[in-house]
C-alpha cells in the first residue's frame, strides 16, 4: 500500500517537472552535449571538424594565458565569497527591520544592478581615470600625494574591477538575504531573547543557522556568476593590461569567437562547468545530508 503510494508520488513528481524539463533539455542539455562533442575536435567550427580526442584539454596545460585566467577567476571567486557575500549580508541585516529611509537605502543599493553594463563600464572608467577620476581627485583633496592608475596597472586592476563589480552586483544577494531574513521565525528569536542572548550572539547562533537554505542559494549564485564573470571585465579592461584581468570566460570567448579555435574555446567552457561542479556539488550534498540528518532526529 505504502509502496504504491510512493510510486504514484514519484510519477507525479516527474509530471510536475516535465514542462520545465522539456525546455531545459532543448536549451541547456543539448548545447552541453553539443559542446562536449565540439570540445574533442579541432577546426573553425564549420563543416568537417577533425577529431583530436583530449588534445584541446591537454593543450590548456601548456597555455600560460589559460593558467593566468584560471588563477584570476579563482581569486575572483574567493573575493566574491569573502567580500560580496558578507557585505551583502551586512546590507540586508542593516535594512531588514523597519526604519525611516529603509526603502530609499534598499533602492539605492539595488539600483546599480539595473544599469546597463555599457554604462557601468563608462562610469567606472571615469572614476578610475588618473587625471579626472574621483578617487585621485579625492586623494589630492586630502593632501595625499598617492596617485594610482588603478585599472592600468597589473597589480591593482583585478581589485579595481572587482570593486566596480561589487558596487554593481550587491543588489541580488542583498535581496536574497533580505527575503531569507524575513523567513526567520520571530518567535525563535524571541525565545533566544528570553535565554539572554545578545544581538550578536542571536545573529550568529540563531539567525544564520536558520538561514542555511538562503546561504546555499546565495553561495551557489555568487560562485557561479564569479566563475562566469565576463561583462564587467569586457567593459572595463577587456582582460588587460597584458591579461592581468583576463578571466576564463573572457578568454574562452576570445578563443571561440575571435581566434576561431572553436574546439579549444569550448573545451575551456567545459572545464569551467567542471570546476563549478567541483566547488558546488559537495556543498549541496553536504547541506542536503545535514538537512536529512536533522529531520531524522
Amino acid at each position: 500500500m505504502k509502496k504504491k503510494h510512493k510510486e504514484e508520488s514519484s510519477r507525479s513528481a516527474y509530471l510536475f517537472m516535465l514542462p520545465a524539463l522539456i525546455i531545459y533539455l532543448s536549451v541547456i542539455v543539448f548545447p552541453i552535449f553539443y559542446s562536449l562533442y565540439i570540445s574533442f575536435h579541432s577546426g573553425t567550427g564549420i563543416g568537417m571538424m577533425k577529431f583530436v580526442g583530449l588534445q584541446n584539454y591537454v593543450a590548456m596545460g601548456s597555455d600560460p594565458v589559460f593558467w593566468q585566467s584560471l588563477v584570476h577567476t579563482l581569486i575572483w571567486i574567493a573575493l566574491t565569497v569573502c567580500i560580496t557575500m558578507p557585505v551583502s549580508l551586512l546590507f540586508a541585516v542593516l535594512l531588514n527591520k523597519y526604519m525611516p529611509g529603509r526603502t530609499f537605502f534598499r533602492g539605492l543599493f539595488y539600483f546599480p544592478s539595473i544599469i546597463a553594463i555599457v554604462a557601468v563600464g563608462i562610469i567606472w572608467r571615469w572614476i578610475y581615470n588618473p587625471q579626472l577620476g574621483i578617487i585621485n581627485s579625492f586623494l589630492k583633496l586630502i593632501g595625499s600625494s598617492y596617485r594610482q592608475t588603478w585599472i592600468a596597472k597589473p597589480d591593482t586592476v583585478l581589485i579595481a574591477v572587482f570593486f566596480a563589480s561589487l558596487w554593481q552586483g550587491i543588489g541580488q544577494p542583498m535581496i536574497l538575504f533580505l527575503a531569507g531574513l524575513q523567513s526567520v521565525d520571530p518567535q525563535t528569536l524571541e525565545a533566544a531573547d528570553i535565554d539572554g542572548a545578545n544581538g550578536v550572539q542571536k545573529f550568529f547562533r540563531v539567525t544564520i543557522p536558520l538561514m542555511k537554505d538562503t546561504f546555499v542559494m546565495v553561495l551557489c549564485t555568487l560562485v557561479i556568476s564569479a566563475m562566469k564573470v565576463y561583462d564587467i571585465v569586457k567593459a572595463l579592461t577587456d582582460g588587460g593590461p597584458n591579461n592581468a584581468s583576463q578571466m576564463l570566460a573572457t578568454y574562452m570567448y576570445n578563443q571561440t569567437f575571435a581566434y576561431n579555435n572553436v574546439g579549444y574555446g569550448t573545451a575551456i567552457a567545459i572545464v569551467m562547468v567542471l570546476i563549478m561542479m567541483i566547488v558546488i556539488v559537495p556543498y549541496l550534498i553536504f547541506t542536503a545530508r545535514e538537512n536529512d540528518g536533522r529531520k531524522a532526529k
Binding site: S9, S12, A13, M17, A20, L21, I23, Y24, S26, V27, I28, F30, P31, S35, L94, L95, M99, G101, T103, F105, F111, P112, S113, I114, I115, A116, I117, V118, I122, I123, I127, L132, I134, S137, I175, L176, A179, Q182, S183, D185, G199, D213, V216, M217, C220, T221, I224, K228, Y230, M252, T256, G265, A269, M272, M277, I280, L284, I285, A288, N291
Partner: protein
C-alpha cells in the same frame, strides 16, 4: 535606562554606517546622472562631478525619439512580462516535485537543474542557433522567450526549492486530508505560501530578462523587435560615443525595473513568517 541608551547608540551607529555606504554607492550614480544631463560642451570642459551649467533635456528627448527607447522598452516589457511569471511557475513546479514529492536522488536532480546556470551562454549560441534556424524561430519572440525560460530555470529552481524546503510538510498533509489533489495543493497552498520567494524571483528575474544582451542580439535581428540592452548598443558611436545621450538612454531604461522592484519588494517585506503559520 542603560538598555535604552544602548539601543539609541546602535541606531545612530547603524545610520552612520548606512550613510557612509550610501555616499560610496551614490558617487558613481551621480556621475551617471550628471553625464546624462550635461551638454557636450559642459562635459568636455568640466570635472566629471562638477554640476552642469544647465540641464540638457535634449539628451533624453533624443534617446526617446532618435534612439527609439520607447519601442525597445515596449518590446522588452512584452517579453519580460510573459516570460517571468511563466518561468517562475514552471520552476516552482519543479521545486514542488524536488522538495515535497517522492523522488529518488533529489540532490542529483538539483545539480542537474543547476548545470544550466553554469553553462557559459556564449557556448550555447551556436547549437541554439542551429535548431532555431531549422525551426524558423530566429526573429520570433517565442524563440527568445523559450531560451530565456530555459536559461532562467536553474536560478529559479535554486531559489524556489530553497524556500519550499522550509515550509513544514504538515501543511501538505493537512491539504491532502482535506481531499486536495497534488495539483490543488501546489497551486492553492504551496504557491501562496511561497509568495516572498516568488516576489524575490520576480524582481531578480525581471531584471535579468530586461538586461539580457547576448541571446537577444543573436536571436532577434529584426530592428523593430529589439530589446533594451541591444537597442542601447546602437547609442554607442563608431568614432566616439555621445555619453550624454547614452547615459540618458540608460537612465530611461532603468525606470520599469525600478518600478517592478518597488512594487514587489513590499511583498517580501511583509514576510513569510506570518504566512507559514
Amino acid at each position: 535606562m542603560n538598555a535604552k541608551v544602548k539601543k539609541r547608540v546602535f541606531a545612530i551607529l547603524k545610520y552612520v554606517i548606512l550613510i557612509l555606504l550610501a555616499v560610496i554607492w551614490l558617487i558613481p550614480i551621480f556621475t551617471l546622472v550628471f553625464t546624462a544631463v550635461k551638454s557636450k560642451q559642459d562635459f568636455f570642459t568640466g570635472n566629471l562631478l562638477s554640476l552642469p551649467s544647465h540641464i540638457e533635456w535634449s539628451n533624453f528627448t533624443n534617446a526617446m525619439t532618435k534612439g527609439r527607447m520607447f519601442k525597445y522598452m515596449k518590446n522588452d516589457l512584452i517579453i519580460s512580462i510573459l516570460k517571468v511569471p511563466l518561468g517562475i511557475f514552471l520552476s516552482a513546479m519543479v521545486s514542488f516535485a524536488l522538495t515535497r514529492l517522492h523522488l529518488k536522488n533529489r540532490t542529483g536532480w538539483l545539480v542537474f537543474f543547476l548545470v544550466g546556470m553554469m553553462l557559459p551562454m556564449q557556448i550555447a549560441l551556436v547549437p541554439i542557433s542551429i535548431i532555431y534556424n531549422k525551426l524558423h524561430l530566429i526573429n520570433t519572440y517565442f524563440g527568445l522567450f523559450y531560451v530565456y525560460i530555459g536559461f532562467g530555470i536553474s536560478f529559479m529552481v535554486l531559489v524556489t526549492q530553497g524556500f519550499m524546503k522550509s515550509i513544514p510538510k504538515a501543511i501538505d498533509e493537512a491539504a491532502y486530508i482535506d481531499g486536495a489533489s497534488k495539483w490543488q495543493t501546489f497551486v492553492s497552498v504551496i504557491l501562496p505560501i511561497s509568495k516572498p520567494a516568488l516576489a524575490t524571483l520576480f524582481i531578480t528575474d525581471f531584471l535579468a530578462t530586461w538586461n539580457e544582451y547576448l541571446l537577444a542580439s543573436v536571436i532577434i535581428n529584426d530592428n523593430d523587435l529589439k530589446t533594451v540592452p541591444v537597442g542601447l548598443m546602437t547609442f554607442v558611436g563608431e568614432h566616439g560615443t555621445d555619453y550624454g545621450y547614452l547615459c540618458a538612454g540608460v537612465l530611461v531604461a532603468v525606470i520599469p525595473v525600478m518600478v517592478v522592484y518597488l512594487i514587489f519588494q513590499n511583498y517580501f517585506v511583509e514576510g513569510m513568517a506570518g504566512a507559514v503559520k
